[in-house]
Subunit: 263 residues, 2 copies
């Protein structure tokens, strides 16, 4: 049992909350039972270490047993060590250190992509993570974070995805121009979602393969990005609300797409 | 200018973060420019006092000028006073004390209701507030919080609605049985949204007037509540995600309804 919250190992794990440490080490932090369970299920080869309190080990046999069976390193730690390792205020007794996945857009584009989500200049980790979760639920094939977006492997984004980090490929680090060009070259229609759009969501043709392109939470999509898209679509606001938040808007769009494509 | 963060007035405002103080005083707290602006626009008769720092007064003339024109009490306060009054960590320089509205279900049921959201046993204020915002955006006519729900006038719920508190009537304090009976008696179909549902969302008939009935974030709807409903509908999960969060699920359902009813 690891009991020293000031050990080098604890500091190294805790450090993964910083982007620079993730880039240097090629590792990221997954906190809480849902995320760790999905990592063990869907990406066991990327799980480097699991840290769990004895309480949590008893509470989550569906994590610990498959992890041990798969030969993963499961370390029992004191409550203090777990709290010192994590970024979350409520770590729920379990976290994992995982290898940073390196999905490459060219390889992913060889797949049959029907529904894609592109986020650009999205800064809020909760919104980004919840949008990734919504994309997973709606059955999107790929999520791209382009331009100056939050890091999809920051602890807050990973927590907000509720495990979807391990379900849907998430590509980051491209410019929005490169991302949109690569998608268009594969025959994927580009639908900008923005309040200035002239096509209403229920009127958009969502049957062909397409990508939803969503902009910053506050200011939306820049005009030059909208111009790179085939159509600018607006989620209708029927009441007096100013807008939906980014995660809700993207999930409403993606579910409209799923309904059209799977009818 | 009010400058004493320990004054009785500051304590009284701050106290409105507690349900007991809201019930005793019949007042609640609205924090941030978006909420205060919508209160001034849509419920000026319920605005008791507005507190604003001099910076924020200069930054938000669209709040302060209409408020003064309407004869509302706009008090300039120091940064310390504003911080001491508010519940939020980022008060953004402006808050209001408003009268607790008392929308009565019987009177609201006399209106032409086509789309209603019923939340029951929802405990998370962020989820409840975001669901109210989504209901507003989708054009719902009424939101009912029934059973053991979070108070819709708690500061966190009000912040999460982003002003929708003042756009759509929100009725609270009923039992779920009474709420559902009252809606059914008005000819409103009751659609339970739950992962155990046998009807998929794209297959549900969403044209007639109906209410979406959503349960607790973690455990969903109790069987006895589902049995009170006409149909149990499931939002399809196409990917590997376990679920959508409550606010996303309710917004996806309400937008599907809006698309069907307004086609």
């Amino acid at each position: 049992m690891l009991t020293n919250p000031r050990s080098d190992r604890v500091k190294a794990v805790r450090g993964l909350a910083r982007r620079s440490a993730r880039e240097r080490s090629g590792r990221f932090l997954v906190e809480g039972p849902q995320g760790v369970r999905e990592a063990v299920r869907h990406a066991p080869a990327d799980v480097v270490d699991i840290y769990v309190t004895s309480d949590a080990a008893a509470r989550y046999p569906e994590i610990v047993e498959p992890a041990r069976t798969a030969g993963l390193f499961v370390h029992e730690v004191s409550d203090e060590v777990l709290a010192a390792m994590g970024d979350s205020q409520h770590p729920q007794g379990v976290l994992a250190v995982c290898r940073v996945p390196a999905p490459e857009l060219p390889a992913l584009l060889e797949r049959d992509l029907r529904l894609v989500l592109v986020l650009t200049n999205v800064r809020d980790p909760g919104n980004a993570g919840t949008a990734i979760r919504g994309a997973d639920a709606a059955g999107a094939d790929l999520v791209v974070l382009a331009g100056d977006c939050v890091d999809p492997l920051s602890p807050k984004v990973v927590r907000s995805t509720a495990g979807s980090t391990f379900h849907v490929p998430v590509v980051a680090g491209l410019s929005i121009e490169d991302a949109l060009t690569a998608l268009r070259d594969k025959g994927i229609r580009l639908l900008a979602a923005d309040g200035v759009g002239t096509v209403l969501l229920p009127d958009a043709d969502l049957v062909p393969a397409h990508a939803w392109v969503m902009g910053n939470e506050a200011w939306g999509l820049e005009p030059e990005i909208r111009e790179l898209c085939d159509e600018v679509v607006r989620v209708p606001i029927h009441g007096l609300a100013e807008s939906l938040n980014l995660a809700m808007a993207s999930t409403v769009c993606l579910y409209a797409s799923a309904a059209a494509q799977r009818r």
